[in-house]
Symmetry: D2
C-alpha cells in the first residue's frame, strides 16, 4: 500500500488528522511561535499514540523557520540558539557529561550528506580534556564526533559502528544528526526536528538502519534531523489527490463519477504512481539549489549543537578549537 | 500554459506525436540500434519543422544506452566511441582545426555541474602546439577548454564570456557540454544528445541564456548534452494524465465523468500542478544516486570528445596530457 | 645564479638591504603598526627604484598580522577592514564604477587555489544592476567576478582571457587575487600585499604569465596577493647561509677558513642547492595545515574586497547576494 | 638531537649505513628489479635489528617505481599487480577470510588524505555476503572499509576506534593505508611500503598514534604506506651536509677548517636548522603538483588492494560494486 513518506512527527500527525476527526489519542501537542520561528512539540505518551503515529514513545520538537530559505544572519542565530535550548531541554546535557555526536548519512550523496557536514564544524574536545585536563579542565564539555558512513560504503551497519564506539568510549549522551524525508517541499532545509527517542529502523532518507537509541546503546540518544528531500511518489500522490478532490467538488454526490472516485482505493492510486515513476527507482524531489540550502542549515546545526554542549566558550574560543 | 519541459529533440517529437497523427512535417527521423545502444537522428529540415518542434533547423542525434545506469566498462567504451563518431559526423573536426570546448553550467549545483566536470578531463593542447610546435606538431589537434560559470556566479552572461573568448582565440569549432532536462526519468545520465545547432535561449536546466551558436559566434557550434533532471511539474503532470486516462478507460463515452475529464483543459491541469508544487520553486526530480551517475557519464563524455579531437593519440598519451 | 624567490616588495627590499648600506634609491618606505597589524607601504618612485627592486613603479602596501595563524574573529574583522581601506586608498573605487574581480591560480593545486576560493564569496552584482536597475539602482556597485584557470587547464594564457573579458564588458577597475611566494615561512597566509601595478610576467607561484596591468588592459589593476608557499630552494639557501655565518663568526679573519667561506660565490651555493633538491622539481615548503590556513585567509580577502566594493550593503544583504 | 625523519625501512637502513660499515646486524636485505619496478625486502630478524632500525621485527617490502611521476597506464597496472602480489605474499589473504581495510589520516590535509582517498575505491562486500550469501557466496571475499579520521577531528584515538570496530566485527586481517614521510623527494608518491608489522606509535605524518598491530588488535595487520612529504628540516639538514662535505673536500685534513667542521656536532647542526625554520612549525616539502600525484597513487593502491582481496572478480564486477 502507498503511504506518504515522512520522518517528521508533525507530518505524521497531519496525515493522521487528514483521515480522522479530533486529536490523536495518546499524543499531546504544544505549539508556540515567536520571531518567525514556530516550535511544535509532539509528545507521544503511550503505546496507542505510538501505534497511531508509527513512531516510538517520546518527545519530538520541531523548529520551523520558513525564512531560512533566504539568508538572514539574525534569524540563523536565533534558530541556532533555539536548537541549543531544545537540546538542553530534552537531554541531560551539562558541562560534566561526555557527549558523542554522530553525523549519519552518505557524504557522496548531496541530500544525504547533512550529518557528515555538521560533524565538520563540531567543537571536539574529548582529547583535550584527557591530554591536558589542567588547561581545559572544568570549563569545557567532553565532546567527540564521528561520521560513520553508510552500509554501502563501509560494509558495516552504521548502528554496529556506533554501538562499538559507544561501548569503547562510554559517553553519557549521543546526539545523532541525519537528513530526513518530508512530505512538504517548503520544509526542506527550513525545519529541524529534535527528539529524545533516537533513530529507529527505517528512518532517514537512506537504506533501512538498525536502531540507534537508548535501548540499543544504553545511553540517551537525541536525534537531530532536517528534511532535505521529498519522495517523488509524494508529489505524484499529491497531484492525484488534488485532481480527485477537484473532480469531486465539481460533481454531485449521486453521480457515477463521484462513486468511481470515492471507490478508487489506495491500491489503485499506488499502482498509478508506480506507473508514472520507474518502479525500481529511488526518486527524490529537491529545489535546484539544494546544495546551498544544505550548506546553510548544516552551519546552523553545528552552531546550535556547539552552543548546547559548550556554554562556557566564546565564539572565538570555539573557532580556535574547530579543526 | 503548462508545457512539458524537455531539451531533447526525441522527446519534443514524442510530445508532438502524442497529440497528432503521423510524423511531424519538416522533420525526418532515422533510428538504429546496435549493441544495446540506440541512435536516433532527428533532422529538422525547414521552418515548419522548427516551429512544430520548438527548436532550430539542424540535426539532433541521440545516443541512448539505458544500461549505463549499471557500471559496465565495455558499454561505456562503446558509448564514448559512438559519441566520438557522431561528433566527427556532425562537425568539421579534423587534426588541422582549432577547437574550443565549453563546459556550461554551475559547478555548485550537483545536477548542473556536468559541463564543468567534463572540462576537467579534456585533453588541452592549444598552448603546447603554440609553445612547442616542433614537439607536438601536426600530430595533435589544438584544443582549449573552459567552464565559464553561470550568470549568478560571474555577473556576466555566459554567452558574452564565450563570445569574447572566441573573438580572441578564433577557434574553428566550438563544442559545448550542458546538463539538460528530460521528461523521462530513465533517460537521466543514460542519454546523450549531440546537435549541430548550438545552444539557443532558454535551453539547459539553468537560467535563460543567450544563444551560443553559429550566428552569434561565427563558427560552427556542436552542443553535447545529457539530461540530469526531470522537472517536478512533469512528474505531477504525468500522474494526473495517468489518472485521467485510467478514469476514462473505466467509463463510457456518454457518461458525465467522461465529459468532465475530456473537457478539463490544460489550464485547469496547470493550476492543479501549481497547487501541488510551491509556486516559486525550481523543483527537480532526480534519482538519489545522481552524484554518482553524473560522475560516470561525465567521464564517458570527456573520453568521447578526446577521441574525436585527438585521433592520433593513445590513451596513455592522453592521460599524460590531462592536467 | 640563485636568487631568493619572493613576490613581496617588502622582502625584495629586505634582500636589497642585506647586501647594501642605506635605503634603496628611488624607493620610499612608510611603516605603521596598530592593533597587532603592521602596514608597510613600499613606493617605487622611478626607474632606478624599479631596477633595484625588480618590480614596476607603483605602490605596494603590505598588511602583516602574524596572529592570523590562530583563529581570532576580531583580528580577522580588523584585517578585512584594513584591506578594504587600502583598496579604497590605492584605487578609484566608488559606487559608480564597474569592477571586475579576477581570481588567478589553479583550483586543483592547494596552495595556488587562493584566487578561485576568494571569487566564490565575492558579492556579484553586475547582472542585478543591468536586469533590475530600479531595484538595485544606485545603492550597489557593479561587480563581476571570474576565475579564469591557468594555461595548463585551459590552453589559453590567463592574460588573454582577462583581456578578452575586459574588452567585452569594459570595467573601470580590475582587482586580481593571487597566491604568492614568500621567503619567510611566518608570512604564509598572514600577510596581504596590495599594489596598484597589476600582475607582471613571472609573478605568482604558477607558471610565467603575461602582464595583467594598466598597460595591457587599459584600466587600473589592483593586485591583491597572499604568500602561500616558500620555495624549497629558499630553505636550503637559508640553511647554508646560517652555517656560513656561524662558521665565520667562529674563526678569525686571517684564517684560511674565513677566506674559503668569503670566496665561496653564489654560483657555488646554487650548485649545492641544486644537488640537495632534485633538479627538475618545483618543490615548495608549507605548514602541514596549509589547507586550513588558505581557507581562513581567503575568507578574509573576500570580506575585505566586498567591504571595499559595496560600502552601502549590510553584512546580511551581502550574504543574500552571495551565490 | 636532530634525526632525519623517515617512515621507510629502506631509508632507515640507508641512514644506518651512512654512519656504519657493513650491513646492519639482525637485518636481511633482498633486492629485485624488473620492468622499471624495484622491490626491496628489508627483514628485521631480531631485537638487535629492531633496535638498530628503530622499527619492530617483521618484513618491510618496498615497491619503487620512479616513473610513476609521469602518467603511464601500463606501469600503473604493473605496480597495482605487484602490490597485490606482495599483500598476498605477506599476509593470510584468501577468499574465506574477512578483511577490514582502514584508511588512516586526515582528509582535510592534502598530503595526509591518502588513506581516506584509497578507501573510497575499495570494493566493499561484507554486507553483500551477509545479506545475500547465496548470490555472492563463495566467490567474493568479505571486505569492510573505514576512514576513522584523526584525533583532532574525532576527539578519539584512531587506535581506539579501530580496536572497537575490530572487536565488534572480528575480521581475520586488517590492512591499513597511511601517508608517510620520506627523506627523499624522489620517493614521494612513487614508492609503496608494505609491512606485516602494522602501525607503531609515532609513525605516519600526523600526530603520534597508539599502535595498530597484532598485539593491540589480536589479528594480523598489514600496513601499506606511501611517502607524500619530506620534512623541511630534512631539506635544511641535507643542504648543510652538502656544504660541509664540499668544504671538507676542498681543504686538507690538518687545516683548522677541517677540524672546525669535523668537530661540529649534531647538536650544533640541529640548532642551526631550528634557526632557519620557525621553531613551532610543522613544515613539509612537497612537489607543487602533490594533489595530482596523490590522486594517481591512491588509485593504484585501491586497485592493488582490490586485486589482492577479490581474485575472483573481473574489473567490471569490481566497478559495479564500488559505491
Amino acid at each position: 500500500m502507498f503511504s506518504i513518506r515522512t520522518d517528521l512527527a508533525v507530518e505524521a500527525r497531519e496525515l493522521y488528522k487528514d483521515g480522522h476527526a479530533g486529536e490523536i489519542p495518546g499524543v499531546s501537542i504544544d505549539e508556540k511561535e515567536e520571531d518567525g520561528i514556530k516550535v511544535v512539540k509532539v509528545s507521544i505518551l503511550n503505546d496507542e499514540g505510538a501505534k497511531a503515529m508509527g513512531k516510538p514513545i517520546g518527545d519530538y520538537i520541531t523548529i520551523e523557520a520558513p525564512d531560512l530559505r533566504y539568508r538572514d544572519i539574525e534569524l540563523e542565530d536565533k534558530v541556532a540558539q533555539k536548537l541549543a535550548d531544545v537540546i538542553k531541554e530534552i537531554s541531560n546535557v551539562n558541562v560534566n557529561i561526555k557527549t558523542l555526536v554522530i553525523g549519519l548519512g552518505n557524504w557522496n550523496v548531496t541530500p544525504d550528506a547533512l550529518g557528515p557536514k555538521v560533524i565538520e564544524n563540531i567543537v571536539v574536545t574529548r582529547h583535550l580534556k584527557e591530554l591536558a585536563p589542567l588547561q581545559f579542565g572544568d570549563n569545557i564539555c567532553s565532546v567527540s564526533a564521528m561520521a560513520p558512513g553508510v552500509l554501502g560504503i563501509t560494509g558495516i551497519e552504521t548502528a554496529e559502528i556506533v554501538k562499538s564506539i559507544v561501548d569503547k568510549i562510554k559517553p553519557d549522551l549521543v546526539i545523532t544528526i541525519d537528513a530526513l524525508a518530508s512530505r512538504r517541499i517548503e520544509r526542506l532545509a527550513t525545519t529541524i526536528q529534535i527528539s529524545n527517542t533516537g533513530i529507529s529502523p527505517g528512518s532517514g532518507i537512506g537504506n533501512k538502519r538498525s536502531a540507534i537509541n537508548m535501548e540499543s546503546l544504553g545511553v540517551p540518544v537525541v536525534a537531530v534531523g532536517v528534511p532535505t528531500v521529498v519522495d517523488a511518489a509524494t508529489i505524484a500522490n499529491d497531484a492525484i489527490d488534488h485532481l480527485e478532490s477537484t473532480l469531486i467538488k465539481n460533481t454531485t454526490s449521486n453521480s457515477p463519477l463521484y462513486n468511481v472516485l470515492k471507490n478508487m482505493d489506495k491500491e489503485d492510486k499506488y499502482a498509478l504512481i508506480k506507473e508514472v515513476l520507474s518502479p525500481d527507482e529511488n526518486l527524490i524531489v529537491t529545489p535546484k539549489e539544494i546544495d546551498l540550502l544544505i550548506k546553510n542549515i548544516s552551519s546552523i546545526l553545528s552552531r546550535g549543537i556547539n552552543l548546547a554542549l559548550q556554554p562556557n566558550l566564546t565564539v572565538d574560543e570555539m573557532n580556535q578549537l574547530v579543526h
